[in-house]
């Protein structure tokens, strides 16, 4: 049985197959075509911490493929608070469903669940750990927007220290000969455990202007207030990394900006109307990518 715990578990061939299938599924994801591919299948979404985007896009994905969905969005409605272990919860839910999406605050919880479950586990984010379907939809978006994944100049900007999306995306893009530009304040720079494993060119920068004109993709993450003990420090740093339409004048015409959302004010709303803004399409892409993954994991066994 296949589980999707970490992007490292997926080889390039499997990734490319999922991206290819996601593209074919676009008309169904948009509701222009109807599919019954997963008719009678039940997806369980077990969210031990809230995440609206991930949960809703998985629910949309299973519904678009004609399947059904059960689950919870908030652990306070479950036996979790009565002291039920994750292991017990997973064994129970596995009996009610064909696959489980798990979101949990503890790192490694999806791996533990995969050891216990009789149905495929999809990691929907485990604390500061892994979030492989986010990485898949990021890869899909880059491929769709730029037309290829190989050999791109990718800038990552913002909180590179704690941002798990940029860690996983770096690991994944590393297999596609990416040239990395890491742009962040010193205190939030990309940790060594990520850069140590990169075998392509990478460089660190404090200012976006220094590298902007070279970039094919700029991946922006939110700088979180709670990372700064002093609110004044936060304001200084956050202000220095704010992107607006004027700043982007030196960028390549085809350069695209991605952001896992939600944004606060790191990307000004005047960027939304420029050709660079890809982040809302990126958020939509969560649906076709998750459809492709669900089809791969639980499709093809209909009577």
């Amino acid at each position: 049985m296949k589980h999707v715990v970490s992007i490292e578990d997926l080889d390039n061939k499997r990734i490319m197959n999922i991206l290819k299938r996601a593209k074919q599924l676009l008309p169904i994801a948009k509701g222009k075509k109807i599919s019954k591919a997963l008719d009678g299948k039940i997806l369980a979404t077990c969210f031990f911490e809230p995440s609206t985007r991930t949960r809703l896009s998985f629910e949309s994905a299973i519904h678009r493929l004609g399947g059904n969905c059960i689950g919870f969005a908030d652990p306070s409605a479950t036996s979790h608070l009565k002291g039920e272990t994750l292991t017990d919860a997973i064994k129970m839910v596995a009996g009610y469903s064909d696959a489980i999406v798990l979101r949990h605050p503890m790192e490694g919880s999806a791996k533990l669940a995969s050891e216990m479950s009789e149905v495929p586990i999809i990691n929907g984010g485990d604390g500061a750990g892994q979030h492989p379907t986010q990485t898949l939809l990021d890869l899909f978006t880059i491929n769709e927007e730029i037309g290829k994944l190989e050999g791109l100049n990718v800038g990552m900007l913002g909180d590179l220290r704690y941002g798990r999306t940029v860690h996983s995306l770096s690991q994944a893009l590393n297999r596609f000969k990416t040239n990395f530009f890491f742009i962040s304040p010193e205190s939030l720079k990309m940790p060594a455990h990520v850069t140590d494993e990169l075998n392509n060119k990478w460089s660190t920068h404090e200012s976006l202007e220094d590298v902007l004109e070279k970039l094919d993709v700029l991946y922006v993450t939110r700088i979180q207030k709670e990372r700064f003990p002093d609110i004044e420090d936060y304001k200084k740093v956050a202000g220095a990394y704010k992107i607006d339409a004027e700043l982007l004048q030196t960028a390549k015409t085809k350069m695209r900006i991605l952001h896992p959302l939600p944004r606060v004010d790191e990307i000004s709303t005047d960027v939304d109307d420029t050709k660079h803004a890809a982040y809302f399409r990126q958020a939509f892409n969560g649906v076709p990518v998750r459809m492709a993954l669900l089809e791969e994991l639980i499709g093809g066994k209909n009577e």
């Binding site: 605050p105 790192e107 490694g108 919880s109 533990l112």
Partner: protein, 152 residues
Amino acid sequence: MSENLLRVQPIRNGTVIDHIKKGRGRKILKVLNLSESETTISLLMNVTSKKKKKKDIIKVEDRELSENETEKLALLSPDARINIIRNYAVAEKKKIDIPRIIVGTVYCSNDSCISNNERGATSKFKLLDSENITIKCIYCRRKIKEDEINFL
């Protein structure tokens, strides 16, 4: 070897842990909780080996090490050798190896790791490097180096 054995009385039955990394003997006593043992334990420190290198030696009377104890010993001093003594003679010599997967021996140093937060969960680590000991939690993927290892 024989001279070293004479410095402290030879044991009749039990286990001699030889070739312990110099200075590591005391930590091994502590981690394996040998001082709580009912039997006699001797620790020799800074013994000169045949190859003129310094080493520690521990003698544990009337018992052998369990699998779990051997696993801990391997992580603490991978070059150590275990000699099983029966009736004053070496009955068996054992090299120790760090297992490829280390189960239920080491704490994950990540407080947010599920292995530290789930009742009944067992820690599991993959051995990445046995020279400069490095292990990796199979759950949260944190890498832990030799001096950061905390034993259960």
